[in-house]
């Protein structure tokens, strides 16, 4: 649904050239929620704005929903929806008026536009406030209207730029539900976020971006496994050394270090390693106090790939 090869963009700011995006290769399948994860300034928004025809790439190729981005941006516009980070509604009009106008800007006839607006109001649960002026809306309500505006013409692909930034936890959960609903209706969703948990919980596949480049790509689970496996902490009071000796030469253990009253192990897959650890220790008569499995987070992935924590950057 989205294919890019070597997409590039630089900006000139105060005589210095900033390479915002330095060659992005992407392949997003139909019906996927694809997440773009990275710190602020990584080039996520710039990439998204290029794909949404808002800025011209300096180099590279992209095909979106079957239309060529450089040669046929008009066709791309008809087939995609785009929801900007900063909102898109005008305070003095109502959500219904905005929805009708948006549909009309896509060339949809007036009667059809009204029907689409009514359907969007229903499916996004906007009825309660859709005929009030936008200036009265809460942050979460505004965001839902923004997304409804983005999909009013039933595009094949929707680009959402940080749709949950600044929302309270409840509105965030609501937005996740909306995004999943769009996927279930067959839409391809391309979303940017700097929230790890959001990428993890919502996205089928994730690309991690840093300094204008993609540093890792895959399903959240693959990424986490690929980078560091699972972490198992074993608590064996008074027998830490013995346990370390027993486990160090096991084939499923990738890495081992002492940790307080026990050992911390990095293993390929926690689910299969844990019974083996238990058997090994039990067979040698080591009394086990506790055993814990930690899945590595996307932050661990980011840390491994960039040497920085996403939370710090």
């Amino acid at each position: 649904m989205i294919e890019t090869i070597g997409l590039r963009k630089s900006f000139r700011a105060r005589k210095a050239t900033v390479d915002a995006v330095r060659g992005v290769d992407l392949s997003v399948a139909k019906g996927e929620i694809f997440g773009f994860l990275g710190p602020n300034g990584a080039g996520k928004t710039t990439t998204l704005r290029m794909l949404a025809t808002l800025i011209q790439p300096d180099g590279g190729e992209a095909t979106i929903a079957g239309a060529d981005l450089r040669r046929n941006p008009g066709q791309v516009r008809r087939r995609i929806g785009y929801v900007a980070q900063g909102g898109s509604t005008w305070d003095a009009v109502t959500a219904r008026e905005e929805l009708v106008l948006q549909a009309r800007m896509y060339g949809i006839a007036k009667a059809d536009a009204r029907q689409r607006a009514a359907r969007a109001i229903e499916s996004f649960e906007l009825a309660e406030f859709a005929d009030r002026k936008c200036q009265t809306y809460s942050g979460g309500q505004r965001r839902r209207v923004d997304v409804a505006l983005g999909i009013i013409h039933a595009p094949g692909v929707i680009f959402l730029d940080e749709p949950t930034t600044g929302l309270d936890p409840q509105s965030r959960a609501h937005m996740w539900d909306e995004v999943r609903r769009l996927r279930s209706e067959g839409m391809t969703v391309f979303i940017t976020t700097h929230y790890l948990d959001e990428a993890d919980a919502l996205c089928d596949r994730v690309a991690i971006m840093d300094h204008g480049e993609i540093v890792a790509e895959g399903t959240p689970n693959d990424l986490k496994r690929e980078v560091s496996g699972d972490v198992v902490t074993v608590g064996v009071p008074g027998a830490a050394e013995q346990a370390a000796k027993l486990l160090d030469n096991q084939p499923y253990v990738r890495q081992l270090e002492p940790s307080g009253d026990g050992v911390r192990l990095v293993v390929d897959a926690g689910a299969t390693a844990m019974p083996q650890i238990l058997r090994t220790l039990d067979g040698a008569g080591v009394r086990l106090d506790s055993i814990e499995l930690h899945r590595p987070s996307l932050d661990d992935v980011f840390l491994t790939k960039t040497g920085r924590s996403l939370r710090e950057s």
């Binding site: 808002l54 008009g74 909102g87 898109s88 509604t89 005008w90 003095a92 948006q102 800007m105 896509y106």
Partner: protein, 250 residues
């Protein structure tokens, strides 16, 4: 066809916003009325002219002033729209870029012509007498000014993207344009050097043309000259602004 449809769409939305909050249209009418009531009698006395003749000079002047200052500052509204994300939302749709500009500029032209018509009618009790055809032609001159300056204002606003930069720039350009067009007093009272400078000001021609029309001389050369000069400048201004709208902006 698509351009006409899209322009109409944007125009309708913009007009709806004006009607919903017509405060700026009303302010636009009240200001020239101040001039009419509080400055007109002074002018009449100073120039020792009969009432009808004084208002024939004075009313076209304040109408051009309204056209210049009423439309040159419309860029402020566009900056608010840019900030709200409304423009970006329009730009991802296939809507005509030229329509995004023309729909807004047409709103400015229509509001201006309505304001001008109201002021003209309100001047009649003061002794103003003007033929309908002449008045309509004068409104065409005003409409061209409005279209040219609103397009220019939008183009400048798209470049600057900040009210803080826009206000001083528009004032710096707008005030000399206004003073050098003889809106308050005809340039024939000016010293030669000032009158010579004013000849290079297209709005000075617009004022002369409107005055000729209000005096009932549609055949005066200043009429066709003003229409021609303003027409050419309007085309250039709209072309420039349309390019700014179409171009990718950050």
């Amino acid at each position: 066809m698509k351009l006409a449809r899209d322009t109409w769409l944007i125009f309708q939305r913009q007009m709806m916003l004006v009607l919903r909050n017509p405060v700026w249209v009303i302010v636009g009418i009240i200001q020239p009325l101040y001039y009419l009531f509080l400055f007109g009698p002074l002018l009449k006395g100073a120039l020792r002219l009969p009432s009808a003749e004084a208002y024939r000079i004075f009313v076209p002047g304040i109408l051009v002033q309204l056209a210049i200052f009423g439309t040159f500052f419309v860029g402020f509204a566009l900056i608010s729209e840019l900030r709200a994300g409304v423009i970006e939302r329009s730009r991802v749709t296939p809507v005509s870029r030229l329509a995004l500009l023309l729909g807004r500029s047409l709103r400015d032209v229509v509001s201006l012509v309505v304001q001008a018509a109201i002021i003209t009618v309100l001047s009649i009790p003061f002794g103003l007498a003007v033929g309908l055809g002449d008045a309509l032609l004068a409104f065409a001159v005003l409409g061209l000014i409005a279209l040219m300056l609103s397009a220019a204002s939008y183009a400048i606003a798209l470049k600057l993207r900040s009210e803080d930069a826009l206000a001083p720039l528009l004032n710096t350009v707008g005030v000399p344009i206004l003073l050098l067009s003889g809106v308050l007093l005809p340039m024939r009272y000016a010293p030669h050097w000032l009158a010579d400078v004013a000849k290079w000001n297209p709005f000075s021609w617009a004022v002369d043309g409107s005055r000729a029309l209000f005096a009932g001389n549609p055949g005066d050369s200043s009429v066709w000259k003003s229409l021609l000069i303003l027409g050419v400048l309007t085309v250039l201004s709209v072309f420039w602004a349309a390019r700014s709208f179409a171009k990718s902006v950050r």
